[in-house]
């Protein structure tokens, strides 16, 4: 591969040294045209020469998040520039999302194997969403949790014998519909009275015998949410 120009933005001298070492030893194609320890330094460098890749730390000086802003500005000014975030914010997930939406091509966390040749080369080859292993592990953990939640919903439907009417009934209860209103829905061919029966029946299914006493509609709906039968983030009413 041809040589490419890199600017490293890193406020910690020791860390800067390490990063430089990594680039020099592992990515010989990279030509470090400058390093900046602060925002002002960085923009000064940018005025002198525009690099192909910016290796960006998020916290600079007194600000811990200024990198996000820098990333946003870079992206608006240089649409084709590669921006790889190299950060020690290994716990601040919110910041990751922010910087990705500000236009970063990838995030490498300063832990585990740190920065590797592959990461840099992938970015340079135009891949977006380049992450190192610790980052992916975190993403996987969240992803796994979500998938498990969905599976739990499927399991709950089977275990508690929930049919589509049960689901619809619970969903509309959660939305604050009265039983009369639910009975009036087009896709609910039931009378108010049989809905009441259904509620009792649901209570019996979702609660063990000891828990059953005093369960009202609110408790029932909350239970349904806990069992993932209804999804609180996806509560939409059916057509009337």
């Amino acid at each position: 591969m041809e040589k490419f120009k890199v600017i490293i933005v890193e406020d910690d001298k020791l860390e800067l040294k390490g990063t430089q070492q990594i680039l020099q030893s592992e990515v010989p194609e990279a030509e470090i045209i400058g390093t900046a320890q602060g925002e002002a330094d960085f923009w000064k460098l940018m005025r002198e020469a525009v690099p192909d890749l910016v290796l960006l730390d998020l916290g600079l000086g007194g600000s811990t998040t200024v990198g996000v802003d820098i990333c946003r500005q870079l992206r608006t000014r240089y649409a084709d520039m590669k921006i790889l975030v190299f950060t020690g914010e290994i716990l601040n997930e919110r910041l990751w999302v922010e910087v990705l939406s500000a236009g970063a091509d990838g995030i490498i966390l300063k832990t585990g194997n740190l920065l590797q040749r592959d990461d840099v080369m992938q970015v340079m080859h135009g891949r977006h969403l380049v992450f190192n292993e610790p980052f992916l592990e975190k993403v996987m953990a969240r992803f796994r949790k979500n998938v498990c939640k969905e599976q739990a919903a499927v399991d709950a439907f089977v275990e508690y014998e929930i049919d589509e009417y049960d689901e619809r009934f619970l969903r509309h209860l959660a939305l604050g519909y009265t039983k009369d209103m639910i009975a009036g829905l087009r896709q609910m061919p039931f009378s108010t009275k049989s809905l009441e029966k259904r509620q009792v029946d649901l209570t019996n299914r979702l609660f063990s015998e000891r828990e059953r006493s005093g369960v009202n509609a609110v408790r029932l709906v909350v239970r349904a949410i806990q069992l993932h039968i209804i999804d609180p983030e996806n509560l939409v009413a059916d057509e009337q």
Partner: protein
């Protein structure tokens, strides 16, 4: 057998014997006893049967004269009815019946309290009265009434308990006129009744009924049609009777049927004679005569009728005549004579018959009513006269009253007009003023308390920010560590070509050591300020808070048991609560449904051990070991293998707190923390705090000084509890205090209870004098208290008993009231209403004034209502004046009390927040010092190894050792960091728009500094921004100015400093952990918090050199909506 019982039994067997027995009973009974009354009743009955009616009435009068026994009086009433029925005195019959019914009503209401014998007597009276009434109506020809009565009687007769009444009833049913149906059915039914009576009476020797039955049967057989029906349907009974009586003094001149009838009648006569019943003998003779008459043997009939008349004539001398009976005989005679063609005699008897008939006209009832009315009219005349007199008296009184009323109502009106200058009003005004003063003081106190609290919160928050800052420094090591790990791994790969990497590792270690040094010095710097808020407090306070979680436990089907405790400890209250809470939360998490969590405390020597035990999953042995022994461990590994883990964090904190107690003072050497656990069975976590004794006397003194009644109940509770727990001396003291405070009329029951408790205490203490005093007082008050209650019910009882005799009085009074009402309606009403309204108005106004400070909230509204209802302008004005006098004061009072409420609520909230912050800080302190102690030496060890490797070359083993060390270090470090981090999960910021000018004003109070004028508003937490500015100014020297700039909705606050400049090294490390001053890092931390809270990453904090010196600036979001505050 009792004479009376015998007399009663023999009454239908042999009347003379019955009389004899009754007389014996009479003479043997004591004076005025119930037995005597019964004997007299029995004697009267015998007299009645013997037709000595005057005698009977005389005896009954005697009973009325002395007996109070309602049951016997009832029997007398019934007997009177019987006599009156017999002699045809309708009015007296009804009088007696009315009396009987009233008495019956009363007796029946208390039926359950009667003895068996009394019940028999009651049933006798009941059946007898109905039968007599039936007889009465029957003879009057009112068959429906007669039937109704006999049916009533049917309910009560019973063969078992009273054979005679049963016989009487059936005899009545059989003797005609009381059965419904066709003539044939009636005949058969009547025959059945009579036959039953006959057989039973004969078997039991009830001569009277045997004779009566025979008499009636004879009359039935004499009727050919009825005889045929009977013969057809009841041939068995008929033949039986026939066989029994055909041969009895047979008269061969008759046909067998008449012979049968006559012999029965004759038998009847014989029996009645035996029984000595004149009346019935005559009746039987009449029946016999009628049989002969039917058989057309008129001479024999006449003979019998004349015998009957002879018997009746013997009786004629008596003052009471049985008119219908005589009339009947005369009628029979008249018929017999006319049958024998003795016209003259027939006419004589006929006339006599008619005369007698006239005498006993059918409408006797009306007769008696008429007499009654006459009598009433007479008494009404008297009453009328009496009332007339009364009316005049009342009229005169009313006139006097009217005059007085006028005067009074005028004076009342005056009183109302002058109310605003009355003493009540003045007093109320003074009270209001006093109240205002008090409230203002109170307000001032609340405000001060609130401010103090706010300051405490501020200092806690400052401390918290400092700790978060330190934590961020702790965190700053982690990237270095990660680099070290990466480098060590590379060493492995690189082999020889590793000098560069080794030196980089060494540099990194030096970096870490610098950071560690900084951290250590900052932590030590704070140490002097580290203090626990140690107070003495009762453990019940803490337990009370914990027991509020009962509902949450119940939700998980767990039982939370918090037994009462009276132990006091010396410790930090907020931290103790935190510890108990942590342990309880753990217990709850690891106890399955159906389990139990118990919190209890007991004292051993000079400490109190507080335990939280559960019936949960428990811990394996090695985990208990870990928890007890090691200072640092991985909390996530604690817990049973398969069950959920995560016991450890809270416990590590608890251990830390106990550790800091120990460091504080030797008093806390007893402090300790421990765990006992068995896997599957449950755990017990305990900690120890030094025990103290409550400041009893101080407390008592305080209570004396305050002397507030609401404390009485608390005191009573304390007394009660003290007694319960055997602290009698305390109990006595509490009670004494409370008694002194309670005012007797206000709460007698409380006083009784208090004296009671005091007596108990004194008794237990063996102080008999005190006991006697307390007890005497208790008993006295108790009597006083309980009489009040019983009086009303006693009165009611008396009233009820007197009700009957009062009827007349009530009637008169009612009339009087009616006339007075009329008078009132026509004349008095308006005056009275006016006066009442004036009085009412005055009362309302003055009560408003008197109860003034208590009703301050509703005072104005009530007055307004009053004013609206007044029509006279003068009065209205007076009320308005009274209202206006208080309006401003009340409004102010309301405002003040509202503010007090606000402040108190705010203080309450602040206290909560303060405690939360305080606990967080305390725990962070512990965590930080643990981090410091446990990890400080790692960097130097790593560096040592790296140095060795540089000198001795790298081999695989040392390399692995290094890697292991670094990895372990990171693991421990991350663990401790995360534990501390948990405490900072919650954001503390209250984002709001803050005026920059206000910030500048605040800061220029403490620092001499020039500030630019501005009207910009920024988004942030005011307290933290002040702190930020404070930190900034703390690091700059003099000659600083503050200015503000705004670009792209960001506000930059810039601090320009003249004269000095930063070196490039200083500038690059200024906000890094290697910095020289903590303040820079605090600033950085605050900005980071703001950044996270406003959801807009990219806030700047920078320092740079300028031409004249340097500047430090930071940016904040400009507040979108500027508010005027």
């Amino acid at each position: 057998m009792d004479g009376n019982d015998l007399a009663y039994r023999l009454r239908y067997t042999d009347v003379s014997a019955s009389l004899k027995a009754a007389k014996e009973a009479y003479s043997s009974s004591s004076a005025n006893s119930d037995d005597k009354a019964e004997a007299l009743n029995n004697m009267a009955y015998a007299a009645y049967q013997q037709m000595r009616y005057d005698q009977a009435l005389h005896l009954l009068k005697h009973v009325y004269g002395f007996s109070r026994n309602q049951l016997e009086l009832l029997c007398s009433d019934v007997l009177t009815m019987k006599v009156m029925q017999r002699i045809g005195n309708g009015k007296s019959f009804f009088d007696a019946r009315l009396r009987a019914q009233k008495r019956l009503h009363r007796i029946l209401s208390e039926e359950s309290s009667l003895t068996v014998r009394q019940k028999h007597r009651l049933h006798y009276a009941l059946t007898e009265s109905h039968i007599v009434a039936s007889t009465y109506y029957y003879y009057l020809g009112q068959d429906s009434a007669a039937r109704r009565e006999i049916q009533e009687a049917a309910q009560y007769v019973n063969l078992e308990t009273d054979t005679t009444q049963w016989l009487y009833y059936h005899y009545m049913m059989g003797s005609g006129g009381l059965v419904d149906g066709t003539p044939e059915e009636v005949t058969i039914a009547e025959f059945n009744h009579l036959f039953r009576v006959y057989t039973l009476a004969k078997a039991n020797h009830f001569t009277y009924f045997e004779a009566n039955a025979l008499q009636s049967l004879s009359a039935m057989v004499a009727d050919s049609l009825r005889a045929t029906w009977v013969k057809q349907q009841r041939i068995d009974a008929y033949s039986y009777l026939f066989g029994e009586h055909l041969s009895w003094q047979a008269d061969n001149t008759l046909s067998p049927r008449y012979q049968f009838a006559a012999s029965m009648a004759r038998h009847s006569v014989y029996l009645f004679k035996q029984y000595h019943d004149l009346f019935q003998t005559a009746c039987a003779l009449r029946t016999l005569g009628e049989v002969y008459f039917s058989a057309e043997q008129y001479d024999k009939a006449l003979e019998n009728f004349r015998s009957a008349l002879r018997l009746a004539s013997n009786h004629r001398r008596s003052p009471y005549q049985v008119t219908p009976w005589l009339a009947g005989i005369h009628e029979n005679l008249s018929l017999a004579y006319s049958a024998l063609d003795d016209k003259q005699q027939a006419d004589i008897h006929r006339n006599t018959y008619l005369d007698l008939l006239d005498e006993s006209r059918q409408n006797k009832e009306l007769d008696s009513r008429k007499a009654l009315l006459k009598q009433e009219a007479h008494s009404e005349q008297i009453q009328f006269f009496f009332l007339l007199l009364l009316t005049i008296v009342v009229a005169v009184l009313a006139a006097i009253y009217y005059r007085q009323l006028n005067n009074r109502s005028r004076s009342y009106e005056q009183r109302v007009r002058k109310i605003s200058s009355s003493a009540d009003c003045r007093q109320a005004e003074q009270k209001l003023q006093a109240l205002l003063r008090d409230s203002e003081e109170h307000l001032e106190e609340s405000r001060e308390e609130c401010e103090v609290m706010q300051q405490r919160i501020n200092s806690q928050q400052e401390r918290h920010i400092l700790q978060r800052t330190k934590l961020s420094v702790v965190y700053a090591i982690i990237p270095y560590l990660d680099r070290v790990i990466a480098e060590v791994k590379k060493l492995d790969e690189m082999g020889e070509n590793s000098t560069e990497h080794l030196s980089y590792i060494q540099e990194l270690c030096s970096g870490m050591m610098t950071v560690n040094d900084r951290l250590t010095s900052w932590i030590q710097m704070q140490r002097g300020r580290l203090s626990l808020q140690v107070t003495r407090f009762p453990l019940s306070d803490i337990f009370g808070v914990i027991s509020m979680q009962q509902y949450a436990f119940a939700q998980q089907q767990l039982i939370l048991e918090v037994p009462d405790t009276d132990l006091h400890v010396k410790a930090d209250k907020a931290l103790t609560l935190f510890m108990v809470n942590t342990l309880v939360d753990n217990a709850r998490k690891f106890t399955p449904a159906g389990g139990k969590v118990t919190i209890f405390a007991h004292s051993i020597d000079d400490f109190v051990e507080i335990s939280v035990s559960d019936t949960g999953v428990g811990l394996p042995k090695e985990d208990v070991q870990t928890l007890c022994d090691s200072k640092v461990y991985d909390p996530n590994c604690i817990g049973t293998k398969n069950a959920s883990k995560g016991f450890g964090f809270g416990i590590m904190n608890c251990k830390g707190i106990i550790g800091s107690y120990k460091k504080l003072s030797s008093l806390f050497n007893v402090c300790d923390f421990g765990v006992e656990s068995e896997e599957g069975k449950g755990s017990r976590f305990w900690f120890r705090l030094p025990r103290v004794f409550p400041l009893l006397f101080l407390l008592a003194f305080n209570l004396f000084a305050q002397a507030l009644p609401q404390h009485c109940y608390e005191l009573f509770d304390s007394t009660y509890n003290a007694n319960l727990q055997g602290r009698y001396a305390d109990a006595w003291l509490y009670a004494e205090n409370a008694i002194n405070i309670v005012e007797e009329p206000i709460d007698t029951s409380l006083l009784v209870s208090l004296y009671n408790e005091q007596a108990i205490a004194a008794q237990a203490l063996g102080d008999w004098e005190a006991y006697r005093q307390s007890n005497a007082e208790c008993v006295r008050l108790h009597r006083l208290f309980s009489t009040d209650c019983s009086l009303a019910s006693d009165c009611q009882q008396l009233e009820k008993m007197n009700a009957d005799s009062r009827v007349l009085y009530v009637l008169i009074v009612l009339l009087l009231i009616a006339s007075l009402t009329l008078f009132y309606m026509v004349v008095l009403r308006h005056r009275l209403r006016h006066r009442a309204s004036m009085d009412d108005l005055y009362q309302r106004l003055s009560s408003l004034l008197q109860t003034f400070p208590q009703n301050a909230e509703t005072y104005d509204a009530e007055l307004q209502v009053v004013a609206q209802n007044i029509e006279q302008p003068g009065l209205k004005k007076a009320v308005q004046e009274m209202r206006q006098k208080f309006t401003p004061g009340l409004a102010r009072l309301q405002k003040i009390s509202d503010s007090i409420e606000d402040f108190e609520e705010k203080t309450h909230k602040q206290r909560f927040e303060h405690d939360r912050l305080y606990v967080m800080n305390q725990i962070l302190d512990n965590s930080l010092s643990t981090i410091k102690h446990e990890t400080m030496y790692f960097p130097s060890r790593i560096k040592q190894m790296a140095d060795d490797m540089q000198q001795n070359g790298i081999d695989v083993e040392t390399n692995h050792n290094l890697l292991d060390l670094v990895t372990y270090y990171r693991h421990i470090y991350m663990l401790l960091y995360e534990q501390a981090q948990r405490q900072t999960d919650q954001s503390l910021l209250r984002m709001q728009s803050v005026s920059v000018a206000d910030l500048f004003t605040f800061i220029s109070k403490t620092h001499e500094i020039d500030c630019q004028e501005t009207n910009l508003q920024v988004l942030g937490d005011e307290m933290l921004l002040r702190l930020l500015l404070g930190q900034m100014l703390a690091v700059v020297s003099a000659n600083a100015t503050l200015c503000v700039e705004e670009h792209d909705s960001m506000t930059y606050i810039i601090c320009n400093v003249k004269g000095q400049k930063f070196t490039p090294e200083q500038l690059s490390d200024l906000f890094s952990p290697q910095t020289e001053r903590l303040e820079y890092l605090v600033m950085r931390q605050i900005l980071r918090e703001c950044d996270a809270a406003c959801g807009h990453p990219g806030l700047r904090l920078e320092a740079e050199n300028t031409e004249q010196g340097y500047r430090i600036f930071f940016s904040l979001l400009t507040a979108q909506i500027p508010t005027k505050s």
